[in-house]
Symmetry: C2
Subunit: 338 residues, 2 copies
């Protein structure tokens, strides 16, 4: 640790005085260095032209570090992915931290390093930010908010309202990895070492998909609420039925075993590097084969189709051939998974 | 309370399942209703053309309700004002809540009503949002993050780097009201009933100022760290000296008394509805007289000037005629004032 800063966060680090400035310089401006952020104005200023997407998410994941990622990586991926699901190319992110007094400054450095490398991979810049400090036991170590702005190319019109009868439903890879990885680390389960979060920025994969097909109708990333929630969202908003094939759902065997053991449903588990896309029936297979060449789409598969029956509902044909409705997830699920 | 919602926030309200959806509809979509938000996509989509400003702030104020405002009003004003200080007309805000399990849903309704009316006054829309719930004692009731996007008109070039020798420094009104109002309510001091926070959206005032003068160089709102921090920021970033006249500083008598009693310096207290502007010497007086016609600029005054001496430093001529350096605020100051 360089400089005169203490190694623990003090209330004075959030006061707006000289210690705040020092922390901002050492922890954020240095590692996240770019001209818009360095301007240190009340807001970042940039030029824009055309359609923009704007989104926000707060991250309260517990634990802060988990197999495959940490709250920093998560806070970049989550917002990059929300923009990507609208077909937007993510450009700029804001970064706001709420820190508990006494938090290790060394951990802030680790988390910011993770933010930095994930932002670099996604090709986005952190251009504006804020830091608040609250007293001990008034927050749980660290919460992060990121908001993001992306550019939507001419002609791209993706919406959860655009699914049509005859379209196919694509899932970009295995489900449940993030949920089980976080839960495993939090509870100290033995399986945790074998399962890593899928946490990843999906804008590169989406850019390839948009190049390959002009008939991508809807995209969603199945985070909180899992695959069950996003399928129901699209079915409800597009007023169409969905028919899913259980046997086509990619679930890795370690996640399947953990779910059996814990009595959890992989359909309800959070993912942080997966997407669901509804695309025209004609484009589905070529898209899937393209996606499989991308590192974040290796296990992409068509998992079902849009049907005229049961509008607003998702029905799954199970491995033994019966049909069951996939309802909206309800009840407790897993808290603080993202 | 309508519907099937319980009257306290449960962890399940943050799970991404059916209870989350219900809360989002009842608490947010209803009162904040607008087409971009109602789309319920992963991001809000809008058209833009030209220069945009982008900013974020998290709000952890304690108490949540204080004389003259609450965390909801504050979270809109703070972000609207940060955009305004760049000369941007605020357009769109995001809204993200981190809620402690057990928090009263009725209080969320009150806070969202306050967000709604403040956004209406400022002419901005809440277009995207997020809600997280954490366990009891893992957060202090409610934290809010807002990010915002504003449009900068052609020709407007405001920056903390643009102050020039010969410019005048304008303050839009009395200082310290917000800090003392929040502290008074938090600590239960007797004076609290007489002092209200100045919490207000300043974009209307700024729009009038921009109409009146093309020679506004720098603007800042003196929030955390108070007037002392923003004057030092501008002096440092513009590499100029500042000379302030203590007797021209507007401080209301109740705040002055409270500061004497508490041993606090009004220069270090947070404000949430005030601005500092550095403007050309020739435009200063006409700007001040214009500002005084606006409800948020009634006590506007020229408080000092930009000088060639002591670049990077702020010097105040006191009421008794001596000179003292106004340093960056340091040490504890007031935690959780915004």
């Amino acid at each position: 640790m360089a400089g005169t800063m203490k190694d623990k966060i003090l209330l004075a680090h959030g006061s707006g005085g000289s210690l705040s400035r020092e922390m901002i310089r050492e922890c954020f401006l240095g590692p996240l260095n770019n001209p818009l952020l360095d301007a240190l104005e009340d807001a970042a200023v940039f030029n824009a032209n055309g359609r923009l997407a704007f989104t926000t998410d707060s991250y309260v994941v517990n634990p802060l570090f988990f197999p495959g990622g940490d709250i920093g990586k998560l806070s970049v991926c989550g917002t990059v992915n929300d923009l990507s699901m609208m077909g937007a190319a993510p450009m700029y992110l804001s970064l706001s931290l709420i820190i508990e007094e006494g938090f290790d400054i060394e951990q802030i450095h680790l988390i910011v390093a993770s933010i930095r490398s994930t932002a670099a991979e996604a090709g986005v810049e952190i251009v504006t930010g804020d830091t608040k400090v609250v007293e001990r036991r008034k927050a749980d170590r660290l919460f992060i908010n990121t908001a993001g702005i992306g550019r939507i190319a001419h002609g791209v019109k993706i919406s959860s309202r655009h699914a049509r009868i005859g379209d196919k439903i694509i899932l970009s890879g295995t489900i449940g990895d993030h949920g089980i990885a976080v839960l495993g680390r939090r509870e100290g389960f033995a399986f945790e070492t074998r399962i890593e979060s899928d946490c990843a920025p999906l804008n590169g994969l989406v850019a390839q998909m948009l190049k390959e097909s002009e008939e991508i109708r809807s995209m969603r990333d199945p985070t909180r609420g899992g695959l069950a929630a996003v399928l129901n969202e699209i079915a409800e908003q597009s007023k169409v039925g969905m028919k899913i094939e259980e046997q086509s759902l990619p679930v890795c065997s370690a996640v399947r075993t953990a779910c059996d053991f814990l009595g959890m449903d992989p359909l309800h588990l959070a993912n942080e590097g997966k997407l669901v896309a509804v695309v025209s029936g004609g484009d589905a297979e070529k898209l899937v084969s393209k996606m499989r060449h991308h590192k974040y789409g290796r296990n992409a598969a068509v998992i079902g189709k849009i049907v005229a029956d049961h509008p607003g509902s998702v029905v799954m044909k199970t491995c033994i051939g019966s049909h069951r409705i996939i309802p909206w997830p309800s009840g407790e699920l897993l808290p603080r998974i993202c």
